[in-house]
């Protein structure tokens, strides 16, 4: 029998690390895309190509490069989480009304003040929605890490399949689902609060 608490911890550690890296890469990429049409085209093209490749294939492709274990799984999950974060950051910032920015500058806000007081508060709910999507995707997909020895709850499913042990298989699947749905519910609630604090009660 596997230790559930330990596997939940590993699963969340992997997902959390991937998410942190994806934020570090995705937010700046989204900001850059919002400011430069050329970079946006390039980034969207790359993302669309990347999307065609299934997650499991990405994991397999990591094998010759990074071997097996935690690190290739981390890289693959990070790649998975960057697009929703970058895309929503781009959409959020591009959705900021141009007239408001013009007025903000005309009233004497500095570039930094325009960003902090006008652009980001408006973009934030959209950016956060991207983070939520990425989080749920990463938690669900971290299951696949077990296939390349990355640990986590996927091991239940892997063992369950190998040993034709339905109970073990279900234990893994249900645990992952609970984590993913829990994250979805929690972040969804946060997102609604954020939206309300920006836009007022609906």
């Amino acid at each position: 029998m596997l230790d559930l608490a330990l596997h939940v911890r590993d699963h969340l550690l992997l997902a959390g690390a991937a998410l942190a890296l994806a934020l570090l890469a995705g937010l700046p990429a989204g900001v850059w895309a919002a400011r430069s049409d050329r970079f946006r085209q390039l980034a969207l093209g790359t993302i669309n190509v990347g999307r065609v490749i299934p997650s499991l294939a990405v994991l397999a492709l990591m094998l010759p490069l990074l071997g097996i274990g935690f690190w290739p799984a981390l890289v693959a999950l990070t790649l998975l989480a960057v697009p929703p974060i970058a895309i929503n950051t781009d959409i959020g910032l591009r959705g900021v009304p141009a007239a408001m920015v013009e007025a903000a500058r005309g009233l004497g806000m500095t570039q930094g003040q325009v960003r902090a007081r006008a652009e980001w508060p408006l973009a934030l709910p959209v950016v956060f929605a991207g983070v939520r999507t990425a989080t749920v995707e990463v938690i669900a997909s971290a299951t696949l890490a077990a296939f390349i020895g990355g640990g986590g709850l996927g091991e239940y499913i892997l063992n369950g399949l190998a040993e034709a042990d339905t109970q073990q298989l279900l234990e893994g699947a249900v645990s992952v689902s609970i984590l993913a749905l829990g994250a979805e519910a929690l972040l969804g609630a946060l997102e609604r609060r954020l939206s309300t604090s920006v836009w007022g009660p609906a």
């Binding site: 009304p97 141009a98 007239a99 408001m100 920015v101 013009e102 007025a103 903000a104 500058r105 005309g106 009233l107 004497g108 806000m109 500095t110 003040q113 007081r117 006008a118 508060p121 408006l122 920006v198 836009w199 007022g200």
Partner: protein, 322 residues
Amino acid sequence: MIAGGVPVRLEEIHVRYPGADRAAIDGVSLSIEGGALVVLLGPSGCGKSTLLRTINGLVAPQSGRILIDGREITGVAPEQLRRGIGYVIQAVGLFPHMSVAQNIAVVPELIGWDAAKIRTRTDALLELVRLDPTRYRDRLPRQLSGGEQQRVGVARALAAEPRLLLMDEPFGAVDAIVRLALQDELRRIHEALGTTMLFVTHDVDEALRIADQIVVMRAGQVVQYGSPLHVLARPATPYVAELLDAADSVRRLQLLRSGDAMRPLPSAGAAAGWPHVDAAHTLREALSRLLDGADCVAVDRGDTVAGVLTFDDVRRALAAAA
């Protein structure tokens, strides 16, 4: 509220946008008196917005000097400069995530007023633009009509007591009736504060209604600068005449007051049975009464009849104004 406005001087301003094949502003010089309400009038693309934006530093001219209150603005940090100049645009550009009061407080906060002073000022400004503070203070912009949003836009621009207000087609997006009301309000606010106002429009009637002085522009240049009556009566070029439809006498009558054209009553009580206009009403309204079938119109000042107008008086006033 502090009254008064600064003079503005433009000397040989040239602006060319990167990559453009001709100058957007092509040698503009203007001298604007402190406290005047000056309208920049001209067709779309003639450079009105660009000229306005050079004055608050949103556009940097290739050459020329801009002096506000006698001081050249090139040495001033642009943000610092803009905090002292009100700016209103057609799309209003209120911050959608801030309440009406927070929107109005933006510039006072940038320059560090204390909360109590900001609060008092916000309510006073809402009163000034005729929005009941208790009802509107905490609303969000999306809970306002277009006209109300622009009232808040004007209040926000006036918040830190600027002595110069720049307005770029501020009433262009509201419907005709609201626009008329806002024009009257703007005149009233201008009279109350004495702020120097530069107002951009391509609407000739709007320009004639509100301007002390009109700057007629074409292709980045100033073609004529003068009072509404002056540009209508003495258009400098055929272009100005056509733009303003200056041959239309009725349009000119709209600029003349009945009280200025009337003659004294021939005898007390002579006005019995005549139609009445107020001395502040335009000659266009007096003419309208005359065309309704009367030979004479009584001109009232307050409750008393102060004078009389006939067709001949209207015609004489029109000729005198030419």
